[in-house]
Symmetry: C2
Subunit: 200 residues, 2 copies
DNA sequence: TTAGTATATGGAGGCTCCCTCCGTTTATGC
DNA sequence: GCATAAACGGAGGGAGCCTCCATATACTAA
């Protein structure tokens, strides 16, 4: 969530490298995404772009310069969060024990799923199940889950008689369910984690 | 879908029987629901109430006189369809063999699920999973399914090693899935039906 | 440093949608 | 037929998405 730059549109046809954003533009881009994330998390899907622009201290025209429509903004948040989750997996695997890396990543994934339900729904509603951003996110999540959960399995600290896929479904399913509060979710995740541990 | 009257609001507190709608009002009420059903089926969720009113040959004010807001109209369609499905179950069971009654009802249910996905989604989005209309519909569908599918089981023409509930889930699940065309759905339903038959 | 220019800004306003209000019309009971 | 409660319908308020373009600002080359 720190220094996020707009994905530099490396145009695959014309090799003409697009020049970087002007400093103020990059600042506004970041502020917009950060604000939008906050507001959407607070208010759910029915948030007006006007309010996001206002709270980001930016004109509505500027918002539309960066994100050609509502969907583009939502997708940008979603994509950034998913990529953050992947980066977290790398970091955890590099610095913690296989079990801890797995447990911490599952917790982060659960928190992510809880807040991103709204985003996911709206994107699917508007762009369809096959939206590029959604299949990209599936791919990234699967890779990160394999790194952390699969890694813990390969290290012998997590049961082998269960698929990585099942676990992400389980955790995702629990927390995507509307109506469960944060505490309940944490309990459910802890329960799943306990069930995963290889008994010593 | 023929003679539907507005559910006469038998006010449970004051026993004061509400007088029936004036003839023109009843006519418009029916026309509005019928038109709305068509338009929503055609265009999905993003249909303006203005267009529904216009195509029903009625002013927007009239629409709002009958349905205080968008959700009320959607709920009315949904409720009517569900009740129609229940009535169909009664009729089929009374006039056809247990197997035919079951098969025809499952087909009707499948068609219903396919077109009502949109409605269901929007109602849940706005009114929440616990909306009265949704729990009512669950109850009604369960009863109708027990009458037809359960009846066929009790008559010995449908396998007994499967729950009624599983079948409605299966059929509903298949057809609620976006992206399947009508023909594919019919094939899936036929497949399920074949699987249900008690081998002679 | 400065001037010139590509880039970025922001808000007025168009369009559509949901919904309200209220003057006009119409069915119904006497 | 008349009186009147009931119903109609559409103008318009408010909000949301998005466009357009006059203005402002960050870079760059001299």
């Amino acid at each position: 969530m720190s220094t996020t730059t707009r994905p530099t549109a490396t145009d695959e046809v014309t090799e003409q490298a697009t020049r970087p954003l002007r400093a103020d533009a990059q600042r506004n881009y970041d502020k917009l995404i950060a604000t939008a994330r906050t507001v959407v998390t607070e208010q759910g899907s029915d948030t007006s772009l006007e309010e996001i622009a206002r709270r980001a201290g930016v004109g509505i025209g500027t918002l539309y310069r960066h994100f050609p429509n509502r969907l583009a903004l939502l997708e940008a948040i979603y994509r950034e969060d998913v990529d953050g989750l992947a980066a977290l997996a790398d970091r955890l695997v590099a610095t913690e024990s296989p079990w801890d890396a797995m447990a911490h990543w599952v917790e982060a994934f659960s928190a992510y799923a809880a807040t991103k339900r709204v985003l996911f729904h709206e994107i699917m509603e508007v762009a369809g199940r096959e939206a590029e951003v959604l299949s990209h996110s599936r791919k990234v999540i699967v890779a990160a889950a394999d790194l952390t959960i699969g890694g813990a399995q390969r290290a012998g600290v997590v049961r082998n008689d269960i698929q990585v896929n099942d676990i992400t479904r389980l955790v995702g399913g629990c927390t995507m369910m509307p109506g469960a509060d944060a505490e309940q979710q944490r309990r459910m995740v802890r329960l799943v984690l306990d069930g995963l541990r290889v008994s010593p």
